[in-house]
Every structure is written in C-alpha cells, then in structure tokens.
Amino acid sequence: MTTVYVPCDSSARSVGADQVAAAIELEAARLGAPVEVVRNGSRGMMWLEPLVEVVSAGGRVAYGPVTPDDVAGLFAAGFLDGDTHELGHGLTDQIPWLAEQERLTFSRVGLIDPLSTDDYLSHGGLFALRRALAMTPQQICDEVTQSGLRGRGGAGFPVGVKWRTVLDAPGSPKFVTCNADEGDSGTFADRMLMEGDPFMLIEGMVIAGIAVDAHEGFIYIRSEYPDAVATMRAAIETAYQVGWLGSRILGSEHGFDLEIRVGAGAYICGEETAMLESLEGKRGMVRAKPPLPAIEGLFGKPTVVNNVLSLASVLVVLAHGAQFYRDFGVGHSRGTQVFQLAGNIARGGIVETAFGITLGQMLERFGGGTISGQPVRAVQVGGPLGAYLPPAQFDLPLDYEAFAEVGAMIGHGGIVVFDDTVDMAVQARFAMEFCATESCGKCTPCRVGAVRGVEVIDRIVAGEKTAANVVLLQDLCELMTDGSLCAMGGLTPMPVRSVLQHFPEDLDRSEGARP
C-alpha cells in the first residue's frame, strides 16, 4: 500500500485539491494500484498547491501543482515509486524553500493527518501538556515569561506576564479565550494551523487553563474560515473521547472544557475586547481599557485572550524549554514568527523563521519576486493597519522594535507584495474606507475620522487645494492615532502616513510624477 498525501487545507482546495484527490483514487482503482490517499494540512508552499506527496522508501516526494489532468501521467511516470516527472520536486524536506525555514510552531502542519490522534502523538503531541501537568501554575507562567514569547496577534504583549496577571487576579471562574478572528488581509497562519494541526491549539488552550487555573475555554473563529471551524469542532469532539478535554485530563486532577464560537463577519471582533463582547452575545463594540481583560474579561471574569499562534508557540516553549525558544530571534523579539507571504508574489505561503531576517531577504530568498514579473513597488506588513514600505526600506530586520522605530509594525506577520502597477493613493484611500466600514462606532475619531479621511484623500487626488489638504490629512491622522480607543482607529493612519511619506507622488498628481 502506497500512501499519497493530498492537502485538505482550504487554500489547496481553492485550487482543486479535492478534484486531484478524487482523480488519484479513480486512477489507482482503474490500475488496481494499492493506494491510500491521506488528506493532510498544507506544507505552506502555496504556489505548488495542490501539492501531492508520495511516501517512498527515501521519504516523501513532492509533485505540484497537480491538476486532475496530470494524474494519469503521474501514474504512468511511476510517481508511486517517487520517480521523476516534470511536476516533481524531489524529497519535500529537501526543497530549499522549506529546508531553510525554522519550523517550530508549524512543525506538524502539512506532515500529519490533522485529525489523527496517532499522528499527533507520534509527532511530539502532548509532550508539553504532560510537562505542564507536572508543574505548578506559577512555574508555567515563569517558563513562558522566560522564553520571551510575545503575543502573536499583533500587539506583542509578553504571554507569560499576561497569564501571571490572570492567575493572580481574584475572581472565579476564569476563562481562556483564543482569538482566531484572523481578519488581516495577507494573513492565514491561524487558519492553516487550525486546519492542519488542530490538537496543537487544543493542547495550548488546556495548558493555558492549567497556568491560570481556568477550566473553561472558547475559541472564537471567524465565519470566513468554515473549514477551520469544521476541523476544530471535529478535533474537540475527538479530544473529549480520548481524555484530552473534559474532567480529569490525562488522568490528572485538572479539567478543561472547550467550545468553538463563530464570528459573523465583523473585522473589529479581532480586537480583544470587541471579541469578548461578541462572545457574550453582544454587538462587537470595543471596551475602554482599563480594566484589562486579564482582570475583568469575559462575563467580567479574569480572562486570557491569546492568538492561535501564541498558544501554539507555548507548546514549543514547554516541550523544549524556555532557553531553547529564547535562542531564536533578536533583541526583544524572541523565538520564531510564522510569516505569511501574500499578494503579488511568485512563491507565497508560510515562512516560519526566527525574528531578525530582513524584509528584503524574506522577499528574495523565499518570495522570489512578484508573480506578475513586474518590479516590487510596495510591501504592506502587518495587515490593513500596517505600513506600506518601499524597496528603500527592505533592509529593515523583521523585529517588533525595528519596525516600530520607522512607524511600521509586524502585526500578525502578514506580508503583502504589490508590483509597480499599484496606485498608492487608492491604497491610502482604502485604509480609510476599510476603517469607515469596519469601525464599531464607539469613538468619534475612528467613526467620523475615517469617513473624513476618505473625503480628504479624494480632494487631494482631485487636485483641490492639495497642499492644504495634505496638512489636513496629517492632522487627521494624528488625531485618530492619539484619540481612538483601540487599534482600529489608532492604527488606520499608519498605512496612510506611510503613503504620504514614501509615495507622495501618487497623492499629489499635479506634479505628474507618475506616468
């Protein structure tokens, strides 16, 4: 029996993985070839999807991108024995794009059948949880703090410090919530982890529960991710059956219940307090802080709010020790970040690597330039609220502080590439338009400012009192930054200001700087 992997990741499915899997089964049946098709997560090499892997004596051999029409040819060429074919890439693990990464958080994604508990255990699953069960809550918090792990959702707050705050906060019950409302365009790491290694997130949630003495958790997943919702729900059901959730986890005294909640299309619910409101069944309106959610969170109780990747990274910290994790990265950015190469890029996908690699290295070594073949003009890092950076800034190291210094941010690690056909005035306008659409409406700088921002940019582009309106736009950006309750209004000026700074010729068209 030959095992053939065809991803069930929704990105792979979006370019025909289901049809390829069906075609392989059909052709195998026609030839009487003993083949077992296993649906794995994606290896994250999106330009090769659907990526088919055949388990050969020497290891897993990759073929891609495969269409249903290629399948008969692959069988004829002997792909079941790992033989060469024009779509072949040799051993998957030796593809340089993959081999040069440091996959800690994504170590299992794409390798295993996401819902197989055997696969999970044979690839290091539950190692961290078993260790956590032998530790006191304080020890877990301390170890996570020592690792230098910062929240991967965007804000970069130290995870261990947050947990310690919840542990020390008076009140009962306490909650662990996972923010899987991955709304930033250009980001898909949370989705891929949930679809490709769901037990990792469950294990992370249970460990967080032990660390803060909470026994109930919620994962808030955006509705745009139906496959992730389905996979997580199935994984939770299995986890209850095998004793990884419920009372007496792994026979210990600790109990933990976990539930999935689905969002409803509101970007603002990725903001932690809006997410808590949404979990409570309310409009996703941002709360004023303080009180911090760690003190008064879900239903007014002490609550951990962590991103998917933060919770998954905790497993690496506990399984290998704080020092191991700390040894990756630079400055105050420790460990690895799961970067996501997206947009107009030849080789897009998941690049997990230590902090400190420059943006340019990321784009050249991994990205391979634009897919259109045109030169890169701008790169937006950190989602819709992140800055647009010009090639002159590509020597910037991917590090929280280095980005902050130049008025940019790493956010959730999304890197969106634009070629030279982009109109940066359109992108600046879109930033304001997006804020106007997605603002929860609670505070005026965001609710009204975004609408005024669109209008002012329209006037600048139309050549109406350009100089005065640019000053007005700068002023508006300052007001929104300083006066908004949360990052929605507070960071919308970031992309706008970056366009003003780096691409002024696109706004002020009177100079005719662009063809």
Binding site: S11, A264, R283, P384, V417, Q427
Partner: protein, 177 residues
C-alpha cells in the same frame, strides 16, 4: 476536515424558529449562536424571529435587533439562490482584485450586498478569506476558489446557477409524481 456546504433552507415557520432557538439557548452568551442557527435554518434571520429570540433569551427586542444589524454576515432578507463573495482585501487587490470586483458588479448588475432582480445571485464583498497567496479569491455557495479572473468567475457562476436550476427542476418533478 472538509466543511459541509448546504444550500437548502427551510421556509419560515415560528415553530421551527422556536425549536432552533431553544437548541442553543442554554449556553453562555447564546445570542450569536442562536442567530447563526436561525440563519443556517432559514437562510436569513426573519424579522419575525426577533421577538421570539428576545423572549426566549430574556433580552429586549432592541438588543436582539442591535446585534442582528451589527454583524455583516447576518441577513434580514432571504439570499439569492447562489451566494457569491468577492474578497476585497489588499492581498487580492494586489493581483487584480479591483478589476474582479468591478467585473462582478457590472456583469451581475448589482452592487455588493445586492441580489439580482431574478433572485438568482446574491453578491457580497468580504474582507479576506485567508487565501492570500492564491488570490484573487471568491466563494460561490460557500466554496472557496483561488486565482479567479473574470472569465473564471463567469464560469463558476453559470455552473452554479445551472446546477441550482437542475436541483429545483428535480424538486418540482418529484412533487408532481
């Protein structure tokens, strides 16, 4: 795990609505799960469901209405037979998303959020479907499609509309026998 895409919806019925609400009323913070369940059952959240939800969950009608109208996913009117979402996020913009969005609105003759006059297609915009390395991205009846250009969208739409018509015809003939 592959998500199950179902397009068949029940006609409005207060009894079915109450049953649906009741199935989710017991959990913490039940309102959003209840509204999702209603939409899954009927394809939209009928305004007639609002007082039923309010009474069951001991909320005011204003609170239910407020939540219903806050979230873009929740509809108060029945959707078209085929639902199309076009991603408007930056990653899709960088590979022709603007042009695809213009093509979608002009070829269907509706703005985003609208349903064609014959009720066949509802067109929505969405900000990111998490397929950012394989854009432009759309969904048709909940199925994700990457690397979609204007002709691909036309093909997806005509296939889906035709499939839908066949399903409906089959239903009709089934009723007659």
């Amino acid at each position: 795990m592959l998500s199950d895409v179902s397009q068949r919806h029940a006609p409005w019925s207060p009894d079915v609505a109450l049953e649906t609400i009741g199935a989710h009323a017991g959990q913490r913070g039940p309102l959003l799960p209840v509204l999702h369940a209603l939409q899954e059952t009927f394809g939209y959240v009928d305004p007639r469901a609002v007082p039923l939800v309010a009474k069951t969950l001991n909320l005011s009608r204003a609170e239910v209405f407020g939540v219903l109208t806050f979230y873009p996913d929740l509809r108060s009117t029945p959707p078209g037979k085929v639902r199309v979402q076009v991603c408007r996020g930056e990653a899709c913009q960088s590979v022709g998303g603007h042009a695809l969005a213009r093509h979608a609105t002009s070829s269907l003759g509706v703005d985003f959020g609208g349903t064609t006059a014959d009720g066949s297609v509802t067109l929505d915009e969405v900000f990111c479907l998490g397929n950012c390395a394989l854009g432009p991205t759309v969904t048709v009846d909940g199925r994700l499609h990457g690397r979609v250009l204007a002709p691909d969208l036309d093909l997806l739409l005509s296939n889906s509309v035709n499939n839908n018509a066949e399903v409906n015809n089959a239903d009709v003939s089934g009723d007659l026998t």
